[in-house]
Symmetry: C2
Subunit: 263 residues, 2 copies
């Protein structure tokens, strides 16, 4: 009997060349596929909601694969974990209908980007956020971020465009706020940008799809607003221009987290 198993995964992407299998480089997909192979002898294809890039983390990545193995759905979690390195954690396993496809069935994904505001390095946080010196005007970043909400052509924030049939996507929420929580799990789901404080700046965005490097390009551009070198209008103009060269730099991968996927 063929089953379709859905996994929820958290991982520290620091040691991996991203989700997708690449020749001769360790990836999350290959590592989990090899754990499945080692459990069952089956060579499966693991399909993910978001193909996170090299160095990008996940709190709630969703993936699925088909198997003829008799392992009960809930037992996949501990069984796979026993074959995986500690930087990849299976949070949940369950059976889903055979036609469930983690990539195409995803209605919405949430990404989070963490910036640490400090002039000094921190040996414990360097893998998990982007350190920026100088003060950041977070309310101004939040105002600029609001123009992302809605349906737009996001090619200004796409690397190597045009690489898809369309670069139009719909964002339902975009917010920038200060937080004292570093721990990715403990950043509050909803926060009041006016009230929070702390040494971290958190940017969160929900949307129906994301282009290659899109969140990191948005964050690099929002940082210009935070530093005061760009206005919110400059940000809006860059979005409307449809030209990657007119937006800001691409923020580094270690601050980015795929938080959750909605089906």
């Amino acid at each position: 009997m063929t089953r379709n198993i859905r996994l929820t995964l958290a991982y520290d992407g620091g040691a991996y060349a991203g989700w997708q299998v690449q020749p001769d480089r360790p990836t999350i997909q290959r590592t989990v596929e090899e754990a499945i192979w080692s459990l069952t002898g089956e060579r499966v294809s693991l399909l993910a909601a978001g193909r996170t890039d090299a160095g990008v983390h996940a709190l709630g990545q969703v993936a699925n694969f088909r198997t003829a193995s008799p392992i009960p759905p809930q037992k996949w979690r501990p069984a796979l974990q026993s074959k995986l390195p500690p930087d990849i954690v299976i949070r949940d396993s369950r059976e889903v209908p055979l036609d469930f496809h983690a990539t195409f069935a995803a209605k919405s994904k949430r990404y989070r980007y963490l910036i640490r505001h400090s002039i000094v390095d921190d040996p414990f946080l360097r893998r998990y956020c982007w350190r920026l010196g100088g003060e950041l005007d977070v309310p101004a970043m939040n105002v600029a971020a609001q123009c992302l909400v809605g349906t737009h052509d996001f090619r200004s924030f796409e690397s190597h465009w045009p690489n898809t049939s369309t670069s139009v996507r719909t964002m339902t929420r975009a917010t920038a706020f200060r937080t004292s929580a570093w721990l990715p799990w403990s950043v509050p789901e909803t926060a009041d940008p006016a009230r929070d404080s702390g040494p971290f700046v958190c940017f969160e965005i929900d949307g129906n799809g994301f282009l290659y490097n899109m969140v990191r390009a948005i964050v690099g551009t929002l940082a210009n607003v935070g530093r005061g070198t760009w206005t919110a209008d400059d940000f809006r103009t860059a979005l409307a221009a449809g030209d990657r060269r007119l937006a800001g730099e691409t923020a580094p991968p270690q601050g980015l987290y795929l938080v959750s996927v909605t089906y």
Copy 2:
């Protein structure tokens, strides 16, 4: 002119075989000594307050070295940082009298040990705390810890004893409390064990000297009290016995931090 330079260092010990130089293995001491050599051409001996073990971290390690270099004392911080990997951070550099010796002049050191109470792994915290499943009775751990305060023979908590002329040391503070702060820097200096809450258990101890693996053996034994398999009296009896075999296991290194040194 010979100067004596004092450094304050923070480091993530995960990639190092401890402080002290060892043949063919990366250590903090060797890495910093090579950074000094690369700056000045001088082969110096770097003396540290605490020779942290493999995998142990530091927030405020103190070290000193003598140099004939004309680099101004405060400039050593950025100059050395430019030669160091990001998991070793120089927090401060200053000139001290020629007879200052970071090891022998230390009056007191503070160590912190972080336990995360969870049955599930976390890919982001595995390098920075000890994960323990099951509930821990933290007030009971704190009561037991009080018998460490004072002058005692700590050979029950020493690996490979007797390896020093005396295993008598004086502890001035020992406390176990819950905290919601993971970030090592953000754990409060003083905490009320009765009032704090959160998913982390923090053990802190101040003393005039520590034997090999002593804090980790204390924490492994306190964990027995936390689990309820030992009473505070059992802990006191283990301390008094002077026999390592009667104390608990040695807690793993990644939860331990050298917080600060007092001169």
